[in-house]
């Protein structure tokens, strides 16, 4: 779908995605495999329910004590030799990182996967400042070459086929066409090795930070995370303020469930625990290390009904199990974070104003809550977001009026019965053999793909009362 202009509304993007057969096949295959791998991995985890409870507690406790933990984290990081920066907004974070690059006379930057940097549009800011930035995570690298955006938290190019990737690399890198993933990864390895070796600065996110020790934990498989934190002379970490746990024991709890939920591995190939720039006597590692702590709406989320969503550990499991995500893919969500978590986080960070369609696009089936390794109650938060939308954004007139009418009549049984009988009579006009093929007004959306059963002539209540009264009369 790269190169094609994205429709501007959620519904437009969803509609486009629903008619994209290639996307469907790719999503079905990928999400089914990831679900099955996660399931196997969790089955093999001893006492997995208890482990999930402990992981949840680690994250929720951290959020409850976030002020103290942030202060402790900053102190430990500073003791370890890091410079700590605080950014109110996305633009502030980008400015800080551009300044760090300027002060360190950085020209080339190698980036390991960071969703927060997508959130702030960091690459565009770096490029505007005249810096060369290359994404080094294979999926992100391909996305960068395609001038597109990732569509899944764990598998950035889940929406692309191997043929599409092969053609893209041929066009962009001038290499011979191949659709063999091994060959394609080999092209990326060769190209990016040169980048790792000549980068002045490495930028990463942080899967989780540990306040007690000032540790930044990176969970990766390819080795690019290690490369960009080992070879360049400057390392910058960009992380949301919520990505903390209190202790190394809490880190262990999160690590027990993160990879299992994301990819079905016990641990990814590399779990990197960084504790500052190189020490005396080290032959590698950055000379200077910076940690940029980003708010960008997180404190607003923390103060509201959906504070819990900040406990997300970005495993992507909810995407793999969500029937809505599986049908529309990640780009339809229109922003950094797709799927059930994105439907809460995006309006949470950006404001409900432009994003009310996201929490609406859910049947509240609860599969996400069931699968979440830290048991986030996403359905409850979706309803909370909808409540915020109702208070703060315009609703269709028929809906607002309809809800008021519903509330008024449903609390007054005689009125309710009258309205129900009238409505029923109107609908029965359109029915043949008890079924309606084209319903009027908003109900017309129902009949685009389903027949609508015509309301009964006599409600259950009426029939029940008359039958029981008849029995009493006979008795």
């Amino acid at each position: 779908m790269s190169g094609v202009a994205m429709p501007l509304t959620f519904h437009g993007r969803a509609r486009a995605a629903l008619s994209d057969r290639t996307l469907h096949e790719a999503l079905d295959r990928a999400t089914a495999q990831l679900r099955s791998r996660r399931s196997t991995a969790l089955d093999s985890l001893e006492h997995s329910d208890y482990v999930r409870d402990v992981a949840r507690r680690a994250r929720m406790t951290a959020l409850r004590n976030l002020g103290a933990l942030l202060r402790e984290f900053e102190s430990r990081l500073t003791e370890n030799g890091c410079r700590v920066h605080w950014a109110d907004t996305a633009d502030d974070a980008n400015r800080i990182i551009v300044r760090i690059a300027a002060e360190a006379r950085v020209r080339r930057i190698a980036k390991s996967k960071s969703m927060v940097s997508e959130e702030t549009h960091l690459n565009a800011a770096l490029e505007r400042a005249g810096l060369a930035v290359v994404e080094t995570d294979l999926g992100e690298y391909v996305t960068q070459l395609a001038a597109s955006r990732p569509s899944h938290i764990i598998l950035p190019i889940v929406h692309m086929t191997r043929e599409q990737v092969g053609r893209l690399l041929q066009e962009q890198l001038g290499v011979p066409y191949s659709d063999d993933p091994q060959v394609l990864a080999g092209y990326a390895r060769a190209k990016l090795r040169a980048e790792f070796l000549r980068a002045d600065m490495g930028i990463t996110g942080a899967n989780i930070g540990v306040a007690a020790t000032g540790t930044i934990c990176l969970v990766t498989n390819e080795g690019n995370g290690r490369m960009v934190t080992t070879l360049p002379r400057v390392h910058v970490v960009l992380m949301g303020i919520e990505k903390l746990v209190a202790t190394m024991a809490d880190l262990d709890a999160v690590l027990k469930v993160l990879a299992r939920s994301a990819t079905g591995q016990q641990l990814t190939a590399y779990t990197t625990l960084v504790r500052g720039p190189r020490r005396a006597g080290d032959a590698c590692g950055p000379e200077s290390m910076h940690v940029v702590l980003l708010d960008n709406g997180r404190t607003r989320l923390l103060a509201g009904e959906s504070a819990e969503i900040l406990g997300c550990i970005r495993c992507g499991a909810c995407l793999n199990v969500c029937p809505v995500y599986r049908n529309i893919g990640g780009h339809a969500y229109g922003d950094t974070y797709p799927g059930p978590v994105g439907a809460v986080v995006t309006p949470g960070l950006r404001g409900i104003g432009n994003w009310a369609a996201l929490p609406d696009a859910s049947s509240l089936c609860g599969a996400c809550r069931d699968i979440c390794p830290v048991r986030l109650d996403i359905p409850r938060m979706l309803i909370a977001m909808r409540q915020e939308a109702v208070s703060c954004t315009p609703q269709p007139a028929w809906l607002r009026f309809g809800m008021r009418a519903f509330a008024w009549t449903a609390a007054r049984p005689p009125m309710y019965r009258i309205v129900a009988r009238l409505g029923g009579a109107v609908l029965r006009q359109r029915a043949r053999n008890g079924w309606i093929h084209r319903a009027p007004g908003p109900l017309g959306a129902w009949t685009t793909c389903r027949d609508l059963r015509a309301p009964a002539r006599r409600s259950f209540e009426r029939q029940w009362r008359s039958r029981t009264e008849a029995r009493h009369d006979r008795a």
Binding site: H11, A14, R15, L18, P323, V324, N327, I328, D360, A361, S362, S363, L364, C365, G366, A367, R369, D370, R380, I383, M385, R386, Q387, E388, A389, V390, L399, M403, R404, F406, A407, W408, T409, A410, A411, R412, P413, Y416, A420, G424, W435, P442, L443, A445, W446, T448, C449, R450, D451, L452, R453, P455, A456, R458, S459, F460, E461, Q463, W464
Partner: protein, 245 residues
């Protein structure tokens, strides 16, 4: 009449106006099990459509009324709908968080509230639910029943019916796409989810599709009709009633 055998049947708004037979079937099955069925007077709706759509004030207005009606009854409150039962059991305490008096009454009512199949499964085995019906049946678990209320063994009511074979569905536990107003506000996505579910049903070889929520039933049945599928979609209460003869 021993009071321990009185149950309150909450038909639900959809059953009341769209398919009263489900209410009668539920009442007959309960009566066959020896319960005396009462239907509380003045019930309209549990308020879920407003609650799910984020209209909290409207939801509370409706729920206050329903709560008052139910609190004034005795015995188990049996609801032939997983989503309505979940609304009362889990969402009412949340809705009335800031209203201590109603919150306590909501908790008391929630404790008595049980979904229809859940209630049947709580009864001692060897009771009058075991009828006979020759059929290949697929079961669709409504999401609120399965995940909200945690009721996973409803299919045993089908398989214990003599002559009934329960056939598995691919992606058995996936949402059918009804989701209340979701089916209207997000009709295209809802329709796609419906397609997947009906394809799975067609591939399963089932003659009947049984579910515990009339919302799911209407959505699946309406879809089956539109696609001219031969599968018969039924609420569980109607199936068991038919099996009991």
């Amino acid at each position: 009449m021993p009071t321990s055998s009185i149950v309150q049947l909450v038909p639900t708004c959809l059953v009341n106006d769209l398919d009263p037979e489900v209410g009668f079937a539920s009442a007959r099955v309960l009566a066959r099990m020896g319960f005396h069925v009462e239907v509380p007077r003045g019930l309209t709706c549990c308020g879920q459509p407003a609650h799910n759509a984020g209209f909290a004030d409207e939801a509370r207005a409706v729920a206050r009324h329903t709560l008052a009606v139910l609190a004034d009854t005795t015995g188990p409150i049996v609801v032939p709908s997983g989503s309505c039962a979940d609304m009362i059991v889990h969402q009412y305490p949340w809705l009335f968080e800031g209203d201590p008096d109603r919150r306590d009454r909501a908790r008391a009512v929630a404790e008595r509230t049980v979904e229809f199949s859940q209630f049947l499964l709580q009864q001692p085995p060897g009771c009058a639910t075991c009828g006979a019906l020759d059929a290949r049946v697929a079961y669709h678990s409504s999401c609120h029943l399965l995940r909200g209320l945690g009721v996973t063994n409803t299919p045993s009511l089908l398989s214990s019916t003599r002559g009934t074979t329960v056939v598995p569905l691919e992606d058995q536990e996936e949402c059918c796409g009804f989701g209340g107003l979701f089916s209207i506000k997000n009709a295209e996505i809802s329709g796609r989810m419906l397609d997947r579910k009906l394809s799975a049903v067609a591939a399963s070889g089932a003659e009947r599709l049984v579910s515990c929520d009339l919302g799911c039933v209407l959505h699946l049945e309406g879809g089956a009709r539109r696609r001219a599928l031969s599968v018969r979609v039924q609420h569980l209460a109607c199936f068991l009633d038919e099996a009991l003869g």
